[in-house]
Amino acid sequence: MKKVTRRRGILVTICLSLALLNTACPLGVKTPSDVQKVENKLNQVANGLNALAKTNRELYKKNVTNLENRKLVASIINKANSGLDKVVDRVYQIDPNNPASIISGKFDVVKFLNEVNAELAKLNVGNEQLRLSAQAIIALINEAIDLTNRVKEVRNAGN
């Protein structure tokens, strides 16, 4: 009887420990690597630009902006978005387990992201909503630049 109680006690302890461990570090869910964090942030930027493009269209439909401004803003967003698309592909090429790939990738990504920022900074058509929205996206891009600079140049940085 004592043996059964002791065995049951050990089993309960093991089960509780596993449950606690699973809560603190869920089994099967990987912590994003440095490169994945950049990719997550770029996804946010992409969504932000998408929302900005739709906002530009909405403002025109509501007669808040005119056709000329609509085209101008759309052109700026289009160029910024093309730049972002280039960044997304460049980050995707980075091999997190290859230090040389990380170093060259970081350099390119930061350079391209600064170009996207420079394009968005041109968005100044006198509409406060569009201007502030562009500033919000620039802030996200700056976060992406910061995350990129933090990518560690070590082997097995995670995939």
Binding site: N47, G48, A51, A74, S133, A136
Partner: protein, 66 residues
């Protein structure tokens, strides 16, 4: 109090501006669920889909003759 109106106006303006930026932040941040647990390949494909859509919208707007 003379300063109160100015303060209230500034606050209202600030709230209007926050409201103006909200669609952008919603668009950027509310897709967290979509990104959770995605592989690099999946996330890349998702992001490319979004940039593709933005490209289509802006090109249409640029060429629109009204």
């Amino acid at each position: 109090m003379p300063g109160t109106n100015a303060t209230l106006e500034a606050l209202i303006k600030a709230l209007e501006l926050v409201n103006a930026v909200k669609p952008i932040l919603d668009g950027a941040l509310n897709n967290e669920a979509a990104r959770m647990g995605l592989s690099r390949d999946e996330l890349h494909a998702l992001t490319k889909k979004i940039t593709g859509e933005t490209d289509a919208i802006t090109k249409e707007d640029i060429s629109d003759q009204d």
